[in-house]
C-alpha cells in the first residue's frame, strides 16, 4: 500500500517556479478552500485559476480553529464546514483538479486534521490523489518529525513558513526543512487583503536569500496585479488567497477567473527571460 520511494525526484512545485523564473516572471500561487461555496464550485474555481494563468494551486482544507486566517477565509471555511466538508472531499477535489489541469496542487492544512487522519496515511492518500505536498501554517519544523519522515518516504513537498520575526537560525531551519518553497510571510498578521504590501516582505526575502534560499514565495495581504508584479521583482512566487476567495464569494467562478487573469498579467514579463537560477 505504500508508495515506492522516489527520492531525488525534482519537486514539481520547484520545477514550476524555476520555469516561471527562467521565462522572465515568477510563480503565481492561488489559494482556495475546498468545499466553498460547494465542493463542485471549489473544484471548478481551482480549474479556472489554472486556465487563467495561475501556476500553482494552494488548496485549503477547512478547519474549525484557523488561527492564521483573517475574516474572509474564516467565513468561507466556516461555511464549508457547515455544509458538511469532510477530509475525503479534499482528496476528491485534488483528484478532480489534477485530472483536468497540469498545475501542481499543494494542500494548506492546520495540523490536527492530518494528525487525526494519521500522518503516514494522509501522506499516502495525498500522493495517491495527485497532490504535491503540504503547506502547514501551525506546524513548525521543531514539531514536524513525523511529517518530515512521511514526506520523505512519499516524495511530497513540505512548505514551512518564515516570518519577519524569525531569527536567522530559524530561517535556516525553515529553508532546510522545506521542499518546494519557503512560505514567506509578508507581514506580522493573518490572511486578508491589505492596501500595501509591507516592506518587511522584501527585507525578509533578502534575509532568506542571504542564508541560501533559492525558492521564496511571498504570501499574506496580496490582492492586485501591481502587488504581484512588485513582489515578483524580488521573490520567486506570489501567493494570493483572500482576494480570490472574496471574488468567489461575490461573483462566483467567473469572477475568480477574471481576477486570476488580471493577477497573471502581473506575474509575467517582469524581466528578460534567462537561464533558470
Amino acid at each position: 500500500m505504500t508508495t515506492p520511494i522516489t527520492s531525488g525526484a525534482v519537486s514539481t512545485v520547484e520545477h514550476t517556479i524555476a520555469r516561471k523564473r527562467s521565462e522572465g516572471g515568477g510563480a503565481l500561487i492561488g489559494y482556495l478552500p475546498v468545499g466553498f461555496p460547494t465542493l463542485t464550485d471549489s473544484i471548478d474555481a481551482a480549474v479556472a485559476l489554472v486556465a487563467n494563468g495561475v501556476d500553482i494551486i494552494e488548496l485549503g482544507l477547512p478547519y474549525s480553529d484557523p488561527v492564521m486566517d483573517g475574516a474572509v477565509i474564516q467565513a468561507a471555511t466556516q461555511q464549508a464546514l457547515a455544509n458538511g466538508f469532510k477530509l475525503r472531499h479534499g482528496f476528491e477535489a485534488i483528484r478532480a483538479i489534477t485530472a483536468q489541469v497540469d498545475a501542481p496542487v499543494l494542500v494548506m492544512t492546520y495540523w490536527n486534521p492530518v494528525l487525526q487522519y494519521g500522518v503516514e496515511r494522509f501522506a499516502d492518500d495525498l500522493r495517491a490523489a495527485g497532490g504535491a505536498g503540504l503547506i502547514t501554517p501551525d506546524l513548525i519544523p521543531d514539531e514536524a518529525d513525523d511529517w518530515m519522515s512521511a514526506s520523505e518516504r512519499t516524495d511530497l513537498d513540505r512548505v514551512f513558513l518564515a516570518a519577519p520575526s524569525s531569527s536567522d537560525a530559524r530561517l535556516v531551519q525553515a529553508i532546510e526543512a522545506s521542499r518546494g518553497f519557503v512560505y514567506t510571510v509578508s507581514t506580522m498578521g493573518t490572511t486578508g487583503a491589505r492596501a500595501g504590501v509591507d516592506a518587511a516582505a522584501r527585507i525578509l526575502v533578502e534575509r532568506l536569500r542571504g542564508v541560501g534560499c533559492t525558492s521564496a514565495c511571498v504570501g499574506l495581504g496580496i490582492s492586485t496585479p501591481e502587488q504581484v508584479r512588485e513582489i515578483l521583482g524580488y521573490a520567486d512566487g506570489a501567493i494570493v488567497g483572500s482576494a480570490l476567495v472574496k471574488a468567489l464569494t461575490d461573483g462566483g467562478v467567473q469572477a475568480v477567473a477574471r481576477l486570476a487573469l488580471d493577477l497573471a498579467a502581473g506575474a509575467n514579463n517582469i524581466r528578460p527571460a534567462s537561464a533558470p537560477r
Binding site: 480553529d65 469532510k86 490536527n112 487525526q116 521543531d142 514539531e143 516570518a163 520575526s165 506580522m188
Partner: protein
C-alpha cells in the same frame, strides 16, 4: 523521580508548540524572560508583595462540617481562592504575567476569557500597572457573564465580543492569537490557563502553584497529616494544577479533577475533555481534545462558562495518562445542586465552576468514608453567576411546584 515543576515544553507525550512561525520569536522571548525572572529573587519578592498587599494572600482554608454531612461525614476543607481580590484564583497568574510584561517592556496586554474571571483579573492588573488591555470573550459568554463584562469595562479594558465559531472560550483564544500575531511587537498575551503553547502551561502552573503550597501546610497545621484526597474543577485546568502541584510527590494523596459533563457525557452536550476526548492539537499544544474523526474541534457545552472548553492543559493529559490524577465528569445539575448546598449549609456561594469540584467531593466523601480528609479548591466565588443561578433555580422551583 519528582513529578513536580515539569519545565515543559513536553509533559510525556503532551505539550509542545504548534503555532504559526510568526509567534515563535515572542514565545522564545517570553520563555527566556520567564527563566530569568524565575531565578531572580527580586521578581519573586515583588510578586509576593503584590500577593500579600494587593490580592490578599495567603488565602485561608475553611473546614465545612455542615456541608460534609452530605459527603458521608468525611472531613472537608476548602481552600478559599474565592476570597482573593477579583474573586478567583485567576489573579495569581495575572499578577505574575503582568510583572513579566513590565520586565519585557511591552505596553499592551491581551487576554481571552470564558467566565470573565481571567478577563477581570487581567483588566485589574492592567489598571494597576498602567497597561492598555483588550479582552476577547465569546459573544455567548458576554451574554451569560454580563456582570464581568461591565467590571472589565469599568476597569478600563476593551472587551471584544467574539462572533466566530461557537462564540465561546475556544473562539476567544483564536481571536486573541490572531491579535497577538498582528501586534506582537507591543503586545504580551496574558494567557489564563495551563494550556496553549510552551511556556504557558508550565509558567501558568508556576504562578498558580502557590495555592497548593499554602494549602498543604495549612492542612498539615490543622489536622496533623496530609489530606487523603485533593479535588478541583478542570476546564483548561489552572486552578487544579495550582492545587495539585504541591501534592504530586505525595503518593498517598489522591488527586481528582472534575470536568464539566453538561447534560451528561452520554449526550453530545458536555465539556468532559479527558473523559471523552482523544489526543490532538489545539491552541498550540498536543493534549486531550473533543474532536470529530476529521480532527475538527467539537463544540463543548457547560452551564459554567469557565469550564466550557473542548481542550485541557497538557500537564493534566499527562497526569491522567500516567494515572497520577483521576478525572471524572460532573453534570450541570450535580454542580448546581452542590452550589445550593454549600450556600445553604455554610453561607458560602461558590462559582459554578468550583461547584463541579464540590459535587465531585460529595460523591468522593461517601466513597472514602468518615475517616477521610478531602481538600477542595474553591477556585472562585459565585457572585458573577447569580443571573444563571437565579434562572436555573427559578425554573427548577416552578417545575417542582407543578409536579
Amino acid at each position: 523521580m519528582s513529578l513536580r515543576t515539569q519545565p515543559g515544553p513536553y509533559f510525556g507525550d503532551f505539550g509542545g508548540r504548534f503555532v504559526p512561525e510568526s509567534l515563535v520569536a515572542a514565545l522564545d522571548e517570553l520563555t527566556a524572560e520567564y527563566e530569568l525572572a524565575k531565578n531572580d529573587p527580586a521578581f519573586a519578592a515583588a510578586l509576593m508583595t503584590l500577593h500579600m498587599n494587593y490580592s490578599g494572600r495567603p488565602s485561608i482554608i475553611t473546614e465545612v462540617p455542615r456541608f460534609a454531612e452530605y459527603a458521608g461525614g468525611a472531613r472537608i476543607i476548602l481552600k478559599r481562592e474565592d476570597l482573593n481580590h477579583t474573586g478567583s484564583h485567576k489573579i495569581n497568574n495575572a499578577l505574575g504575567q503582568a510583572l513579566l510584561t513590565q520586565r519585557i517592556g511591552k505596553t499592551r496586554v491581551i487576554a481571552e476569557t470564558g467566565a470573565g474571571q481571567h478577563g477581570v483579573a487581567t483588566a485589574t492588573v492592567a489598571a494597576l500597572f498602567g497597561l492598555e488591555c483588550v479582552v476577547y470573550m465569546g459573544e455567548v459568554d458576554t451574554e451569560r457573564q454580563a456582570l464581568n463584562v461591565a467590571r472589565m469595562r469599568l476597569l478600563g479594558a476593551e472587551v471584544v465580543p467574539v462572533k466566530t465559531g461557537s462564540r465561546t472560550l475556544k473562539d476567544a483564544i483564536n481571536d486573541a492569537m490572531r491579535d497577538w500575531v498582528s501586534n506582537v511587537d507591543t503586545t504580551n498575551y496574558i494567557f489564563g490557563t495551563v494550556a496553549g503553547p510552551h511556556p504557558f502551561p508550565a509558567m501558568v502552573r508556576d504562578f498558580q502553584k502557590i495555592i497548593g503550597e499554602e494549602a498543604r501546610k495549612q492542612v498539615l497545621d490543622l489536622t496533623g497529616s496530609l489530606p487523603d484526597a485533593v479535588t478541583a474543577c478542570v476546564g483548561g485546568g489552572s486552578n487544579a494544577m495550582g492545587i495539585f502541584d504541591a501534592f504530586l510527590d505525595d503518593p498517598d494523596v489522591a488527586l481528582f479533577g472534575y470536568e464539566a459533563a453538561g447534560d451528561g457525557v452520554e449526550t453530545p452536550r458536555h465539556a468532559a475533555t479527558i473523559t471523552k476526548g482523544r489526543p490532538g492539537v489545539l491552541h498550540g499544544a498536543r493534549s486531550m481534545l473533543l474532536q470529530d474523526e476529521d480532527g475538527q474541534t467539537v463544540d463543548s457545552h457547560s452551564i459554567s462558562a469557565g469550564l466550557d472548553y473542548p481542550g485541557v492543559g497538557p500537564e493534566h493529559a499527562w497526569l491522567a495518562s500516567i494515572g497520577r490524577a483521576t478525572y471524572l465528569p460532573i453534570t450541570d445539575d450535580e454542580a448546581m445542586s452542590a452550589l445550593r448546598l454549600l450556600s445553604r449549609t455554610e453561607g458560602i456561594i461558590p462559582a459554578i465552576e468550583s461547584s463541579h469540584a464540590l459535587a465531585g467531593t460529595l460523591e468522593l466523601g461517601r466513597a472514602l468514608g468518615p475517616e477521610a480528609t478531602i481538600l477542595v479548591n474553591l477556585s472562585g466565588r459565585g457572585d458573577k453567576d447569580m443571573e444563571t443561578a437565579g434562572r436555573y433555580f427559578d425554573l427548577l422551583d416552578e417545575g417542582a411546584e407543578q409536579s
